[in-house]
């Protein structure tokens, strides 16, 4: 990221340092704009119906709704199986994928199969009879995993049975169910996109498939829950150093300047938890943090209540070096927020005036223009909060500005060892590491399995 040195005529190290720090928050300031999308994993196409295009021949008939298949011919050998795959491969970015079939008619010989196959599967063979496929066969209850010879697996199945096949990405297994109960599982060593596959082979066999459009006979949600709990149980066994959570929470409160909370917290913990001595915290020592604490708290309060002018005033009094350069990211964010506050109360004329004086100079400046354009766009709407730039009117926006000012004040500490320590609290660094590790692991695992999303973790706990 280029350093905007246009206004840095006094090239003392601290000023350039501060400039870099402020820029960090510029990106955060626009986070609200894309919030809706940044959480979701890129949507995978789900199997929703049977694929009629890569059909194998005239011995099967797929219904018009593409959810059932019937063997209409007479089977003569092992290479005229009526195999059908789903239109899309099983999605991988989740814990479990599952689908079911209902055997409407077992026909002459009940040679029905359910399983998974790769895209290039020979569409005349039962799933499991060829490499890179797996199938649970109804006539003999055996499991075929890429060889002509099957292994004993479970019960046979016939008309009126509901049979399911799934992939458990956590344990890397294929699993099968019959009438709502798990029959068994087998290690999945087939790689690559896997298509849900069903097959019929003797005259009049008919099978209906359910890709989730209707409720399943097997409780997949509960199965997933059990899997998650298994993983959770392993994790819970890990031991933590004593009081580490307490220390992290305390350092969070200190870092962001939540003075009142911190005091209440300290008072309460004197009676419960032994106080943890936080000497070397984020490169500061206790004395310095306590000193800046009250001012940071005051500024946060002012910004969170939208009193930007007061905040600017206090900054001029206490930390003039932060607001000295009017083209710094910090000043920019404060001016934007002032503009937003004027729009919020409907003082549009004043907002326009303010914008002309304070914001106009940022148009066309890399890094600033996106946000300034969004701010100005607020003026175009009667109901700006409903618009695409409505995110600017949310509390979270004030929060970003408050956090920026907080970081800038922390950075003025002469005893500061590492300026980047002002940007992220200990808790944030831990959460980033957790997310990055999970994502990297999943990526190295062929992108299979669930990723870690703090937001989702917190939501689940609220249910």
């Amino acid at each position: 990221m280029t350093n905007h040195s246009s206004a840095n005529s006094d090239s003392n190290g601290t000023n350039i340092h501060n400039q870099d720090l402020g820029w960090y928050f510029l990106e955060l300031a626009r986070l609200g704009a894309s919030r809706a999308t940044h959480l979701e994993d890129t949507e995978e196409q789900l199997p929703s119906e049977l694929n009629t295009i890569n059909s194998s021949g005239g011995f099967q008939l797929v219904s018009t709704d593409k959810l059932s298949v019937k063997y209409t011919s007479v089977n003569r050998h092992g290479h005229d199986v009526g195999v059908v795959q789903a239109n899309n491969p099983a999605p991988v970015k989740r814990l479990v994928y599952y689908f079911e079939i209902f055997v409407k008619d077992a026909g002459a010989k009940g040679q029905i199969a359910i399983g998974f196959t790769i895209g290039t599967f020979k569409m005349r063979r039962q799933p499991g009879w060829e490499a890179n496929s797996c199938g649970y066969h109804g006539d003999d209850g055996m499991l075929y995993c890429g060889q002509g010879k099957g292994e004993t697996f479970g019960p046979t199945y016939t008309a009126n049975d509901i049979v399911g096949a799934g992939i458990n990405y956590a344990s890397q297994e294929f699993f099968f169910t019959k009438n709502g109960a798990v029959v068994g599982a087998v290690y999945k060593d087939v790689k690559g996109p896997l298509f849900p596959t069903i097959a019929v082979h003797s005259p009049n066999e008919e099978v209906q498939v359910n890709f989730g459009q209707k409720p399943f006979a097997f409780d997949v949600k509960d199965f997933e829950k059990q899997e998650r709990m298994k993983q959770q149980a392993t994790i819970e066994k890990i031991s933590l150093p004593p009081n580490v959570s307490y220390g992290i929470v305390r350092s969070y409160l200190l870092f962001y300047g939540y003075e009142d909370t911190l005091n209440s917290f300290d008072v309460a913990s004197k009676t419960t938890v032994p106080p943890v001595y936080m000497a070397q915290e984020n490169g500061f020592n206790e004395q310095d943090i306590v000193y800046a604490l009250n001012q940071r708290k005051t500024l946060r309060k002012l910004i969170k209540s939208g009193e930007i002018d007061s905040a600017l005033g206090k900054l001029h009094d206490w930390y003039p070096q932060i607001v000295q350069d009017d083209k710094s990211a910090t000043c920019f964010l404060l001016h934007c927020q002032k503009f937003i506050e004027l729009v919020r109360v409907g003082a549009l004329e004043e907002a326009v005036k303010y914008g002309r004086i304070e914001l106009a100079k940022f148009f066309g400046l890399t890094g600033f223009e996106d946000l300034v354009q969004d701010c100005v766009a607020l003026l175009a709407y009667e109901q700006p909060q409903e618009s695409s730039v409505g995110y600017l009117l949310e509390e979270s926006q004030r929060e970003v500005v408050a956090d920026t000012v907080n970081a800038m004040i922390l950075s003025t500490n002469p005893n500061l060892k590492d300026s980047h320590a002002c940007l992220q609290s200990c808790l944030e660094r831990l959460l980033r590491q957790l997310t990055a590790c999970c994502l990297e692991r999943r990526s190295l695992n062929g992108d299979q399995g669930e990723a870690f999303h703090l937001h989702r973790e917190l939501d689940i706990s609220k249910n």
């Binding site: 994790i235 929470v249 209440s264 070397q280 660094r429 980033r432 590491q433 917190l458």
Partner: protein, 241 residues
């Protein structure tokens, strides 16, 4: 980059090749870290969750004011404490009312708990010498429950037998009048409320910290990358050789 670091990097790569692990440098890793989006709101929720579940009720209230983070369950902690206290003081009717205000399903789905609360009510009536009221209460409210359940019936009979003795402090069922009986019932109610709010029982933060340790161990099998070894400082350390 000094020669020292070049050598370190090469050693790491050799080690990784020997075990076919992907090597991720500190710069690459920091980029991945920066790409992660963590919302301040979520961190605030996490901290609030810690304050509330660990019982720092005042701090939680201050945090709500200072950060604007809502916590719907703040009231329920105070409520739960109120229920517990009511039972401990013998105000069982009050406690039952409060529990139902909190969540009517708790007593509906917990017949044993409900019976024990009613039993406690009976004990209090007997303790206060309200013999007629006690008998009426026993016959109307507790006897029907006793019919449904053998162990309830036995408990009911034990409790009613208190009335048969002049000197209750020395009788075989005297322990029912003891404060410990109240505390037992209070504990039962407390646990039931906590279970009904099962997400509140333990704070999320320690689980996430454990998950971090676990995730790093898991990733170790496939890659060499910077770790965080000290949770309280969260400093990134170079890939171990």
């Amino acid at each position: 980059m000094s020669l020292f670091w070049i050598v370190i990097r090469q050693l790491a790569e050799i080690e990784a090749m020997a075990t076919s692990k992907k090597v991720i440098t500190k710069e690459e890793w920091e980029k991945k870290l920066n790409d992660v989006k963590i919302m301040k709101e979520d961190m605030n929720k996490l901290v609030m969750n810690f304050l509330v579940t660990e019982g720092y009720v005042d701090a939680a209230e201050k945090f709500r004011m200072e950060s604007g983070t809502e916590h719907i369950d703040l009231a329920t902690i105070t409520d739960r404490m109120a229920v517990k206290k009511a039972v401990q003081c013998g105000n069982v009717e009050d406690a039952i009312e409060k529990v139902n205000d909190l969540n009517p399903e708790i007593l509906d789905t917990n017949p044993q708990l409900f019976f024990h609360l009613q039993q406690q009510r009976l004990i209090e009536l007997i303790r206060n010498g309200k013999v007629e009221e006690a008998l009426e209460f026993a016959q109307e409210e507790l006897a029907p429950r006793g019919e449904e359940n053998q162990s309830f019936l036995e408990e009911l009979e034990r409790t009613v037998s208190l009335l048969a003795f002049e000197d209750v402090s020395n009788c075989p069922v005297g322990e029912l009048l003891d404060i410990s009986q109240r505390l037992k019932t209070a504990s039962e109610v407390n646990a039931a409320i906590l279970t009904s709010q099962s997400h509140e029982k333990d704070p999320k933060l320690p689980s996430l910290l454990k998950m971090l340790i676990w995730a790093q161990n898991q990733l170790d099998e496939k890659a060499a990358y910077p770790h965080i070894n000290d949770l309280s400082t969260a400093t990134l350390e170079d890939p171990a050789i």
